[in-house]
Symmetry: C2
Subunit: 263 residues, 2 copies
């Protein structure tokens, strides 16, 4: 039996999230069907974590065990041949027998894209959260810095019925290595003239692990800071409250990207 | 009666082209329905030209006459409120009574995007033509230059059942002001690490007007030059043949953008 590490990018807008569901297109289910079609084996690839419906990935990682002898490079090419264009296998590698995409991960990076401009480009509508109203971006940068370090993130975690299966996941303490907002300007060539003055305000967060909805709840809370509803000091109080209702709303899924997983 | 100039961007992938059709979503039909919903008037906005199914626009222009008194800025905002995110009104302006989006146009610019890299980003699949095989890009640049100037483009025109209604359109002679291929590199932040070495090879053409399928037929022919099937001198022979069968195939719609219309 070979243990494989599969790295994949996907446009999550047409899928009901990562996790396999009956009768609904999911990333995991679509990948499993492609592997079965090519190797004849029924396997369920294990992701580094579940992404919600509409959430994208630049480099999600999945592990699965197969006994087919097909070389990794050929398998990657063949998978891209049978998968829809919205899911691309970036690489397939042989992994050590103990490698598990979720349990072996020790850091992950997510990004959240907010489109700043009155009119959102039709080519970005599925790939960003459109927020054209005033935001105190400096306050949001300050607020983002508050969550770095080790904290109990209960206030930013959705109640997740599937958690608690593994002991190591029973705690809501996570370490955030970096947490920052930055502007990304557009190049002239990509969009219409009237969209050129628009830019994106992008949140990038790297941490030891993330609870369910945690990045979207952080972004929804930082947006309240940007609107002036909360001040920078509120983030510390929200962390200390250990209470989901203390934080802001969950930001829309379409702006979120799983950028990378570290092992 | 007011005459309006409407500038709009659209993602053509979910539409059966510009021109209204019964029972099928089109840009013209969707825009007409939005105008009717807001003003109560049944009008058919006239585009600067029809775009085919899957073809995009960064700044298509349409004209239409309405009698509602709503200010242009409010109309633009209201249209974006009722239109799907795949169609965005960039501006609405009052135009002179004689302004007509197609007849008043004196130049247009189109762009064609070819994704060069083994794996096409899932976020670009609808927005580029993916061609990962070797191309002699220098030969394509040379070939593109050959079509500048005034030529009869019959060899690059699809047989179009709707043409010939206006006398001015009976000729297949058009003037190309510029015609060139250029590389566009990707920024690190936009795509997965393994896609970073990819780039786009982009054709931009500006001319007095374009026949049906003309840009896609030019691109399909330049691709034959890039593959070595045709040499640079072939372009001149194809122009002189005045015969559609002399040129290459029609390139896929999804890579094509109407960039701008000049009046």
């Amino acid at each position: 039996m070979r243990n494989l590490k599969i790295t994949l990018a996907y446009d999550g807008s047409g899928f009901h999230g990562w996790q396999v569901q009956p009768e609904r297109p999911t990333i995991q289910g679509t990948l499993a069907a492609a592997i079965e079609r090519l190797t004849g084996s029924q396997v369920l690839p294990q992701g580094s974590g579940r992404t919600d419906a509409g959430v994208h990935a630049l480099a999600q990682v999945a592990s699965c065990q197969i006994d087919a002898g097909i070389p990794t490079e050929n398998l990657a090419r063949a998978l891209n041949h049978v998968l829809p264009p919205a899911i691309r296998v970036l690489s397939v590698e042989e992994a050590a027998p103990e490698f598990h995409a979720r349990r072996s991960a020790h850091a992950k990076t997510y990004r959240y894209r907010i489109f700043r401009g009155e009119i959102c480009s039709p080519f970005l509508a599925r790939y960003v959260c459109h927020y054209p109203y005033p935001l105190d971006e400096k306050a949001m940068c300050d607020a983002a810095a508050v969550v770095t370090g080790e904290h109990d993130f209960t206030s930013f975690a959705a109640v997740d019925p599937e958690r608690g299966r593994d002991d190591e996941e029973a705690s809501n303490v996570r370490t955030i290595y970096s947490s920052e907002w930055k502007r990304t300007e557009y190049e002239e060539t990509q969009h219409a003239a009237s969209l050129q003055r628009a830019y994106e305000f992008v949140y990038t967060v790297r941490g030891s692990g993330f609870l369910h909805h945690m990045v979207r709840n952080l972004v929804g809370t930082f947006l309240l800071v940007g609107k002036g509803t909360l001040d920078r000091a509120a983030i510390k109080r929200i962390l200390d409250a250990h209470d989901r209702s203390a934080a802001g709303p969950t930001a829309p899924a379409c702006g979120l990207y799983l950028v990378s997983v570290e092992y």
